[in-house]
């Protein structure tokens, strides 16, 4: 295959030859090496190079998209023509089209998103990491008797983006993840915990023994869990669960949802929504961030956006299309799926998680949730959860099979303490925080 930029340029030429007024091609090449280990053995080994072309075509404001893994020249030409033909059936939309040119693209070299040692590290060392996660979590406690698997995934990605307005940009990025899933025997029952770390480079990845220990401790600590009573009380969201709440907040901030009435934040820009502790950034330029890139999915330079400042909603997040539609500039949040986050995070506070816990006379600490339905339109929030009951500022006993419920508006307003344990290991990250009152539904 041709060099990525050359290949993408050829796809743009195909689309224009087929009748597109404007076209944009993105080629993604990902080399993946992954290992799953269970019970001190390698269970699965995968090594592949995957390629995918995304071609967007526009004619008179009519848009069609092609995503294909068949990259033979003949096939790209054929489906580019099909996409152009399909676009004829789309309604004219004055806002659809490529972004305005903004000069040369960055190559990401100053953003610390590519780490050469990911490719250099021998496969044996990566396999040893997976086996180490299994062995170390097993060794933590005799109650750890089984495993849902430990995983290693190392990936090297190359992206090239070319459009018919003359934009061409390319960058490389790496991602490394390690996680463990030990299972503790608890009488007749089993307790599984999942814990892991992700980064752009090995140097900033949490150590294998620390991941294994934390995962195993979480499984063992849940032994003997019971339902809490149904009550209204303060709820502390541990870091990873706090990040999942931010992903629900993001959905309501995405201009794609705002434009179709699917957000509880419509009409609220400039209003104080959150408590004074709610300062949220979307920072596409964060050094070494997993959501960091020199430009977004349509070639718009990424940037640092203040989304909430001291509780006041400052802006929604836009790609070019929804920006034009709603009369503002893109915030560099175009993603392959529409409008997406870069590094979306709540600003850290000062105390640690223990300090948050010690301030609660009676409440719960949530360390994991299940379920995924949040009504973006109203902000109604309800999740299955597990964690710990807090009594007199201390973790009293493990709890599970309960739900936490509230409304995202009340939850943002109710954040009354934020910890200092922020780390950047995903697109959505957050320090642990406390919400003054939610409904815990148990027995």
């Amino acid at each position: 295959m041709a060099e990525p930029l050359t290949f993408a340029a050829a796809a743009v030429a195909d689309a224009v030859a087929a009748g597109a007024a404007e076209a944009e091609a993105t080629l993604n090449v990902i080399e993946r090496f992954s290992v799953e280990a269970r019970n001190r053995e390698v269970a699965r080994l995968e090594q592949s190079t995957g390629r995918s072309l995304t071609l967007r075509v526009f004619s008179d404001g009519k848009k069609a998209t092609l995503v294909t893994s068949d990259l033979t020249a003949e096939s790209v030409r054929r489906f580019a023509r099909e996409a152009v033909d399909a676009a004829r059936h789309v309604a004219v939309d004055l806002y659809a089209g490529l972004p305005e040119s903004r000069g040369p693209a960055g190559d990401g070299s100053s953003l610390e998103i590519y780490s050469p040692d990911v490719r250099e590290r021998p496969n044996e060392a990566k396999i040893d990491d997976a086996l180490g996660l299994e062995a170390l979590s097993r060794a933590y406690d005799p109650r750890i008797v089984n495993s849902a698997g430990s995983h290693v995934l190392d990936a090297v990605a190359t992206l090239a983006l070319v459009n018919s307005k003359g934009f061409h940009g390319t960058y490389r990025a790496t991602q490394v993840t390690r996680d463990a899933g030990p299972i503790a025997q608890d009488g007749e029952s089993k307790r599984v915990a999942h814990y892991g770390s992700a980064s752009r480079a090995y140097a900033s990845l949490e150590a294998v023994d620390s991941i294994a220990r934390t995962a195993a401790r979480r499984a063992v600590d849940m032994c003997g869990a019971r339902k809490p009573p149904t009550m209204r009380c303060p709820v502390i969201f541990e870091r990873d669960v706090a990040a999942s709440v931010l992903s629900d907040v993001f959905a309501a901030l995405s201009a794609a949802n705002v434009a179709v009435g699917n957000s509880f934040l419509i009409g609220k820009v400039g209003h104080k929504i959150g408590s004074g502790l709610v300062t949220i950034f979307d920072d596409g330029l964060l050094s070494g961030g997993l959501g960091t890139a020199p430009f977004d999915a349509e070639g718009v330079p990424t940037r640092r956006t203040v989304v909430f400042r001291d509780g006041v909603l400052e802006t929604f997040l836009y790609d070019t299309y929804y920006g034009r539609k709603l009369g503002v500039a893109s915030t560099g949040n175009a993603s392959s799926g529409g409008v997406g986050p870069t590094n979306f995070y709540l600003q850290a506070g000062s105390g640690n998680l223990e300090a948050l816990i010690s301030s609660v006379p009676r409440g719960v600490l949530v360390i994991d949730t299940i379920g995924f339905s949040t009504e973006s339109v109203t902000g109604t929030y309800s999740r299955g959860a597990r964690g710990f009951a807090i009594e007199n500022g201390e973790l009293a006993y493990p709890i599970d099979e309960f739900t936490i419920a509230g409304n995202l508006v009340e939850m943002l307003a109710g954040i009354d303490a934020v910890a200092n344990d922020l780390r950047f290991d995903g697109n959505f990250v957050s320090p642990s925080f406390r919400i003054a009152e939610m409904t815990v539904s148990g027995s």
Binding site: N123, V260, G261
Partner: protein
């Protein structure tokens, strides 16, 4: 039915498998070419068209409990050889003698379990047909009620060709259609409400001649209007009646995943080692079936080439068996049940559900709802999730009501219901005589892989479940 020249022939499969098998016990190759077309309507206008082409080969080598896997979207001889070598890493033994593998003739086409109906395909007339259906749905949703505001709908149609070749000489193929129309409506009343409805199946867009886009759109609009007037859901343990149709999400989460072969072979499921034991109330019988004509989860053969079939999972409360793919069946000394499925050629197969459902019981809907003094009626679900080892699951209400003195009263806002699978299944105290399948719109996620599934359920009463609303007392 002619295959295009881009498809792999017997000689290529033979070469790949011979190279991959090496010291392994078994190797297979999965070729896939899937073309999916969709149109999306937003703000009363066709907003965009999309084509997704998924094309490539996944190569797998099994050696004991170990799986080696590699895929390639590049079908050149060099790329396929590299992928075969990568898959073989798991079982590389230079001393092993290479077994003779024979793949000959044409891949045998599996007998269809799909509903014959016109597919629109890539033609101009086809595109017009998609657009007309979306426009009809949009008008129907908007004119249902003055409160209906934003309407979004998507129509997608795909055709997936798969060919499976195995080191023990199987060489089979399948051609799977899939169509879906999904409508989301937002209504503005006392509060805002959303409603979703989707349908389709293993068929073509001709399906919507019978199940009209107007039906689907009005249902989405109706739910949105109901949810405008919804009150906060209650919190705490109470009686819950699960509605016929999408209530099958309960079976899928509370029982189905726990009966998948991998979790049981690994001793990770609460149902591990319990075949023959009582695991549910005697009113509970659960089937999984890959052969229901046109249902979303149906497959003529699974993604390992094994024919889909009807499986009895639980009968009168007794656990009858697990759902197996080839790897786990082999290690447990049993046969695949045709449950080996994968999202695409980029993923190794896992044991998965197809269409999971509970057959009719003997109670009527009126008897069941009439028996509840204070509780919740869960009409339909947006989805669910289970944690397999302890068995805790949630399912999320899309439409629901309070039950007071045997009657449905106020609609309630979206809430999660939480329970423990085996525990809840012992609390099934009434089963209705009104089994039906949910609208064909669910996909199931496992290990990061999504596959289309079906669920079906009669009206069922659960003696006690924790309802996760925010209204206490």
């Amino acid at each position: 039915m002619q295959l295009e020249p881009v498809y792999l022939d017997a000689a290529t499969f033979e070469k790949i498998l011979t190279r991959a098998l090496g010291a392994g016990e078994y190797a297979d190759a999965f070729f896939e070419r899937r073309v999916a077309r969709s149109f999306r309507l937003q703000d009363g206008k066709i907003h965009e068209a999309a084509i997704v082409v998924t094309s490539g080969v996944g190569i797998r080598v099994l050696s004991g409990e170990r799986t080696g896997y590699a895929y390639s979207d590049d079908l050149s001889a060099d790329a396929l050889s590299r992928a075969a070598d990568a898959a073989a890493l798991i079982a590389r033994d230079p001393a092993a003698k290479i077994a003779a593998i024979r793949i000959e003739g044409e891949a045998k086409l599996a007998p269809s379990v799909y509903e014959a109906a016109a597919q629109a395909g890539s033609t101009d007339a086809g595109s017009r047909a998609y657009v007309d259906l979306l426009a009809r749905a949009d008008v129907a949703a908007r004119t249902f009620d003055v409160r209906v505001g934003a309407v979004n709908s998507t129509l997608s149609e795909e055709l997936q060709d798969v060919i499976v070749a195995t080191s023990d000489g199987h060489f089979v193929r399948d051609r799977r259609p899939l169509v879906a129309l999904a409508v989301q409506a937002v209504a503005n009343g006392a509060a805002r409400g959303t409603g979703m409805c989707g349908d389709g199946g293993r068929t073509g867009i001709g399906y919507f001649d019978r199940r009209t886009p107007e039906d689907i759109a009005r249902e989405a609009a109706r739910i949105a209007c109901v949810n405008c007037d919804a009150v906060e859901a209650p919190a705490g343990e109470m009686e819950v009646v699960v509605g016929a149709g999408s209530g099958g999400v309960l079976l899928h989460e509370a029982v189905g995943h726990g009966l998948e072969g991998d979790f049981n072979r690994q001793g990770r499921s609460l149902y591990s080692g319990r075949v023959g034991e009582r695991v549910a109330s005697e009113l509970v019988t659960i089937f999984d079936d890959g052969n229901l004509p046109g249902e979303r989860g149906s497959i003529a053969i699974d993604d390992e080439g094994t024919p889909g079939r009807h499986k009895v999972l639980v009968e009168a409360g007794v656990l009858c068996g697990y759902m197996q793919d080839r790897l786990n069946a082999g290690l447990m000394g049993t046969e695949s049940t045709g449950s080996g499925r994968r999202q695409s050629f980029r993923h190794p197969p896992l044991p998965r559900m197809c269409n999971t459902y509970m057959p009719n019981g003997s109670s009527t809907y009126d008897e069941i709802v009439g028996s509840v003094k204070k509780g919740v009626y869960a009409t339909s679900f947006a989805g669910g999730q289970v944690e397999i080892s302890k068995g805790d699951f949630v399912f999320m209400l899309a439409e629901g009501y309070l039950i007071e003195d045997g009657r449905l009263t106020a609609p309630i806002r979206g809430a999660s219901l939480i329970g423990n699978g085996p525990d809840v299944m012992t609390r099934v105290v009434m089963v209705g005589n009104d089994t039906r399948f949910a609208g064909r719109s669910y996909s199931c996620g496992k290990g990061g892989q999504y596959v289309p599934v079906g669920v079906g359920m009669p009206t069922v009463k659960l003696a006690r479940v924790t309802v996760g609303g925010s209204s206490v007392g």
